[in-house]
Symmetry: C2
DNA sequence: TATTAGCACTCAAATTAAACGAGTGCTAAC
DNA sequence: GTTAGCACTCGTTTAATTTGAGTGCTAATA
């Protein structure tokens, strides 16, 4: 079946309506709401089709329809394609330059949460150096091997690795080749996987050296140590009945308080952003329901945006709310702050 | 009416029972539960008295009784008097020395929350200097007055105050006397009040100088700048139906996230602790319901304990839960960690 | 062939009613 | 002073009923 123009219109009407009301929407309502004149019966037929195609679903027989994740996805994608609808009812959001970075970030998180009525978070900016560019092991003396590691952004790290027995030049050469072909261009997570296969292939060969190499690379890449996350408006989720029952609220709140799970979201979002650097440039990602990397947010939508402070510092901010959030407003809020942060720290 | 032994026993039985079950407790239940043999009818009479005295109350006519804030207060006070009941069902709580102080504090907060099943928080330790000890203004030259401020812990601060017109020695002497008699021994909050009366009395006299003095004193006293608060287990409140409804949960969660209101609690608790340094020495405070300095916690009980790291660093940790929390267990948990922190950083 | 009116049917949510039961206060007897 | 007895209260539970928004299907219509 094909998603023709009329079906598209109806689908959009369903979603728009549901975003506003939060109630399942039925054929009568749509008949009134649509600009094309169609009887409820006709719309019912179309809705039946749309349901079969997976865009909408019924909470129970004889109720109206609500968008499925697929439906939301369709909506968000087509919304993102239409450039810049103007969003009206939002206060001007103005970031004031703060003395402390932490103050600034707290401010941004609060602005986001207060203006959108969803939960918000922002990460401290991270040095942009997540991929391995080059790796060289050199024999310094019989007991020591020097590892030189270059990561994206041309940051160079040195690490001396002690070995129990000397390694001959030939082996070292091979090992260098092996490591470079396997690991170059990989991020930390991928390197762990890469090393596992590597060790499996060359089982037993200098596996202690390889472990040391991994540690050294991890040190060089990881900037996690100084990752701070500021949250605001977690209690906003209580405004949305579909998230406000104890079970769900508790797990969301807990994720917000623990913060370490949020780290995953940040990494995921930052690395996704890096990948499609060329194409779109807004750096806004939408995760709907199960698309989210965080388990406890499977009933939410998560909208993230990266921001840049000065030259090489990238961070992430995010809005978390119900699936039926006002995506336009949220995207707009994120973009606004993105730009402001950009300008604020431009020297 | 007097709270005789029998009434006391019945009151305690009511409270103990309610702490366990969370349900209003009636005369039949008590009759079975009590060791002295009394018929439900007799107990009803006593309960009626206890209600009149304000220790217990009825959620509605013809329901059992629950403790009032006054009842809880009685219970907690008498409990605190009995030294050290052993508490059984708690895992060993072991704090591991961490590299970073923040890591340590996060760990402690988590231990507290996980072991008690309530919400927990801990503040970073503050330098113990909250009261003004001595204040001296000296004329340096016609345009400048030097303020020397000594606060508790013998920390000395100097501040140069510019004056538009020179002040003669006599006035300065008077002002010194006035300031010292009014402000010595006061904490920051009290100083603000003290200054207001002072200014009222001596209206107009060098009020700009007085304002500068206040700022200088505030600078010297306030250590708030580096106050960090770590929380854990905020979601535990969902385990207690009396706190889990959206309204209450939302405001508690919000307080936990914003953190600045928690600062009040910390100051209040630290300064109370300082006052009764001599008498009790456990440093454990219990705030029941409205006794709490934080508005949003009026349906909770808050138990706080101070801890000392090394020589002059004092911090506060706290457990927040329903009024019917297990006070013994909580007090025990706090004491355990108090001791551990004490030992851990003893040089 | 696409659209629509009509109608029987479904089902969550709201409303009402009845039964239950834990608990009380009061009185009179022990 | 203590207790048994009893009528009464009132929140909770359960079931029955009503309501209403919405559906799918069929047959008539354009």
């Amino acid at each position: 079946m094909e998603l023709n123009e009329r079906k598209t219109k109806i689908l959009e009407a369903i979603i728009r309506n549901y975003l506003e009301s939060g109630d399942p929407v039925g054929s009568r309502t749509l008949s009134r709401y649509l600009d094309i004149k169609l009887s409820p019966a006709t719309i019912r037929n179309e809705m039946s089709d749309l349901e079969e195609m997976g865009y909408i679903l019924q909470p129970h027989t004889s109720s109206g329809r609500i968008p499925s994740d697929k439906g939301y996805r369709f909506y968000v994608d087509s919304m993102m394609a239409d450039r810049e609808k103007e969003v009206s009812d939002m206060h001007e959001m103005v970031v004031e330059k703060a003395e402390e970075l932490s103050g600034l970030l707290k401010q941004v998180a609060k602005l986001l949460a207060d203006n959108t009525n969803y939960a918000a978070l922002i990460s401290s900016p991270q040095l942009h150096r997540n991929k391995l560019k080059f790796l060289q092991l050199s024999k310094v003396d019989d007991g020591n091997i020097l590892a030189v590691i270059v990561v994206e952004g041309n940051i160079i790290k040195n690490k001396m690795i002690e070995v129990s027995e000397p390694m001959d030049d030939d082996t070292l050469l091979k090992l260098n080749l092996l490591l470079n072909t396997h690991l170059n261009g990989l991020s930390l997570e991928e390197i762990n996987l890469g090393l596992i296969t590597l060790i499996k292939e060359r089982a037993g060969i200098h596996s202690d050296v390889i472990a040391s190499v991994r540690d050294a690379v991890a040190d060089a890449i990881r900037a996690d140590e100084d990752l701070e996350i500021y949250t605001s408006g977690a209690n906003n989720i209580f405004k949305y009945p579909e998230l406000a029952d104890n079970e769900k609220a508790s797990s969301i709140i807990s994720t917000f308080e623990e913060k370490n799970e949020l780290g995953q979201l940040i990494n995921e979002s930052l690395s996704r952003d890096r990948e499609k650097k060329n194409g779109e440039k807004t750096g806004i990602q939408v995760y709907i329901g199960n698309e989210s990397p965080i388990e406890s947010m499977k009933d939410c939508s998560v909208v993230t945006a990266t921001y840049e402070l000065g030259d090489n510092m990238k961070g992430m901010m995010s809005i978390i709310g119900p699936k039926r959030m006002d995506y336009e407003k949220v995207a707009h809020a994120l973009k606004t702050l993105q730009e402001q942060l950009d300008v604020l720290y431009k020297k």
